[in-house]
């Protein structure tokens, strides 16, 4: 192994790649444009939808209640909903999103309520549909208000002070630091994107430097030079790693910038601060994410290089590598699922562990034991992958597969 020759190969590949438009696109343009496009686009759409949903006065069908004028009056006086008479197919109408919800009022409700019989009003809505859920919430709030008012009246009518109907109040207060809030909502997403980009950034050069070189026939010529095969594969590996890291770094910085913009835009769009998302990510957390993704980048680069080396042509390499994207996305998605937590077992699963630990880091906590374990485990996997790539490169049957 000669560092000088590795350097020569690396510089050659770097020069060659930087003059290749496709590499530049996958390495530089995609990560820089993808994040702003994603955050701005998705954030804008999401905010717009929420605002729209909240501005809409939902149409709500009222089933029954003809014998309960006071309840009907309470519902109709609420300007936040539009109570209309029910038709028979109200369930179908909710499913078809014609109306947002329905209120089913039991017979003789007003009279029963005055006697304190505790009849149940059912609210039908469509779970998972934002506008329907909002309508359900509005109806429930409205009914709760009415219940309190009614209780106060009933208690007062019996000569007892009204406050006894509501003997105490509750209030909530968030004590989690803002980055922790961001961590739970975005912490999983950020490393997920960066990991995927670290993979896709490495993909094109890995194919170009192996299968592409075989296809162009330049593999034989470089093999007739006095550069050892190990130096050759390591030079190529460092180039792929550079592409992977460049993509990760550029996407991280682009993410930071676009989140700053998105924050302002979203804040303006969402006057209701309860639904506003808090974007505040510590720069040191970004650095920490970068450090954790580094060994993963090494792993990706080596694995991609080893697999692409098997292929005889660029197209064949693409066939081999596309399933790999799914293999990488799966653990990253699993990490986003609720209930998947960092423990001694998940810490040993590559990609999953990195996504989980990055989630923690972005969320502001630093589980040092896991950080160390995951970092070194990733380094171990990465060095095994480099070893495999080097040994494959020294095998004639792989280099000149018939």
């Amino acid at each position: 192994m000669s560092l000088r020759n590795i350097g020569v190969v690396y510089r050659k590949e770097l020069k060659d790649s930087l003059r290749d438009r496709r590499t530049v696109i996958s390495m530089v343009v995609v990560p820089i444009l993808l994040f702003p496009a994603l955050t701005m686009g998705m954030g804008y759409l999401g905010a717009k939808m929420m605002t729209e949903a909240k501005q809409e006065v939902p149409e709500v069908m009222v089933v029954g209640g003809n014998d309960s004028p006071r309840l009907m009056e309470a519902l109709k006086s609420n300007k936040k909903i539009n109570a209309v008479p029910a038709s028979d197919d109200y369930i179908a109408q909710i499913s078809n999103k014609k109306v947002r919800a329905a209120v089913i009022i039991p017979a003789n409700f007003d009279a029963a309520a005055e006697r304190g019989e505790g009849k149940t009003i059912v609210i039908d809505y469509y779970e998972g549909e934002v506008k329907s859920q909002l309508a359900e919430k509005t109806i429930e709030d409205s009914l709760t208000d009415y219940r309190e008012k009614l209780a106060r009246q009933l208690v007062a009518a019996r000569g007892v002070p009204g406050q006894l109907a509501k003997p105490f109040e509750t209030d909530d207060e968030n004590v989690a630091p803002p980055e922790k809030v961001a961590g739970s909502s975005l912490g999983g997403l950020i490393p997920y994107f960066v990991i995927i980009l670290a993979l896709t950034g490495a993909m094109y050069p890995a194919m170009d430097l192996t299968a592409g070189e075989k296809e162009r026939g330049t593999m034989e010529t470089i093999l007739t030079s006095p550069v050892a095969r190990t130096d050759l594969v390591l030079g190529k590996f460092f180039m792929v790693l550079t592409a992977s890291m460049a993509t990760a770094i550029l996407s991280l910085s682009s993410m930071g910038v676009s989140f700053l913009f998105a924050k302002n835009t979203l804040d303006r769009l969402l006057s209701d601060e309860a639904h506003g998302v808090h974007f505040s990510i510590d720069p040191s957390a970004v650095l920490a994410v970068f450090v954790m993704i580094l060994p993963l980048s090494v792993l990706f680069s080596a694995v991609l290089l080893a697999i692409a080396l098997f292929a005889k042509s660029f197209r064949e390499a693409q066939t081999y590598l596309s399933p790999l994207t799914i293999i990488v996305i799966m653990p990253a998605i699993i990490a986003l699922l609720p209930g998947i937590e960092l423990n001694s077992r998940t810490a040993l699963i590559p990609i999953l562990s990195t996504t989980l630990v990055c989630k923690e880091l972005v969320g502001g906590s630093h589980p040092w034991g896991f950080i160390t374990l995951i970092f070194f485990a990733s380094c171990l996997y990465a060095s095994i992958a480099i070893g495999v790539a080097v040994s494959l490169f020294n095998r004639e049957s792989v280099l000149f597969r018939a």
């Binding site: 020759n5 060659d16 003059r19 026939g217 330049t218 007739t224 018939a402």
Partner: protein, 362 residues
Amino acid sequence: MVHSPAQFPVKIEFQFMSEAIVSTPPPPIIEVDELSKHSRTFHRREGIWGGLQNLFYREYKTVAAVDRVSFTINRGEMVGYIGPNGAGKSTSIKMLTGILVPTSGKALVNGYIPYKQRRQYVRTIGVVFGQRTQLWWDIAVIESFKLLRRIYDVSQRDFDARMEQFNHVLGISDFLYTPVRKLSLGERMRCDLAAALLHNPPLLFLDEPTIGLDVVAKHHIREFLRTVNREYQTTVLLTTHDLDDIEELCKRILIIDHGKVLFDGPLEVLKSRLLRTKHIKFAVKQQIDSDTLRLFAGDGVSVDQVDEVTFRLRFDRTKVSGADLIRKLLAEHDVRDLLIEDEPIEEIIKRIYAGEASLVAD
């Protein structure tokens, strides 16, 4: 075989003998002994069902790409290595350049075993693959040269001197700053040759150096190779499908097919041994009835008409005497012009490849 002088009983009374010892030829630059390369390929079944079967069960068979090939090449020789597609030429070249490891046999080139001492060895050779380039596709030619300078540890002074020389002979200065992908094939080949010779190797392997080039470009390349061979005694082994390359460059040819050497010797020997057919091309003063020429046709002779007044007689010189044929022709017709031609070398090679011609000396 290398004879050291000590093995000879030197006798002072035989003056000519000691002179013979002094002029003992240097050891050959390439020694190949029973070199073989086997590759394992699997038998592909046909159809969709066959394709599925291929996925799970493969029948492998071993193919000898190169089968016990032996030859030696001396310093300063220019040897044509020819054979049909798939004959084993490229595999041989790959073994001799250290890319592939032979299955069996020995090769000693420039005193090195190519596949064992590859890194030291390749510093003493230059390689050009006609259909590929060792210049890097997207970067300017000069950058490739600079990288090769570093890889081969060529000093800046030698590098500058050689670049100047290449500019002079190959005229590459015009496109040194152009990316390789924008060069024409002829320009690229000139640059590739310069790249292969940058470290001044005594031995040059060329795999189809003139493939796809136009007549002028071919001429440039051949001229350059002749110059290098003459001035620096650079040994050249070249594979080609263009027999003009052979006729213009090589005194000696090696014909290989199915991994075996079919012929090894001077081009003249091949011709004299295999030139069975000769052509007599003649023109007559007045238009004649081609039927009258039919009389000539017969055992070993055939006639065809080139144009109104020109005809060609092909005859097998083992069966018919050319002199008799000409005598008869001149006696019967008013011949204005006459030319005797050898069978084109392509025809001979074609017959060898088709297995019609035996190369075993009678």
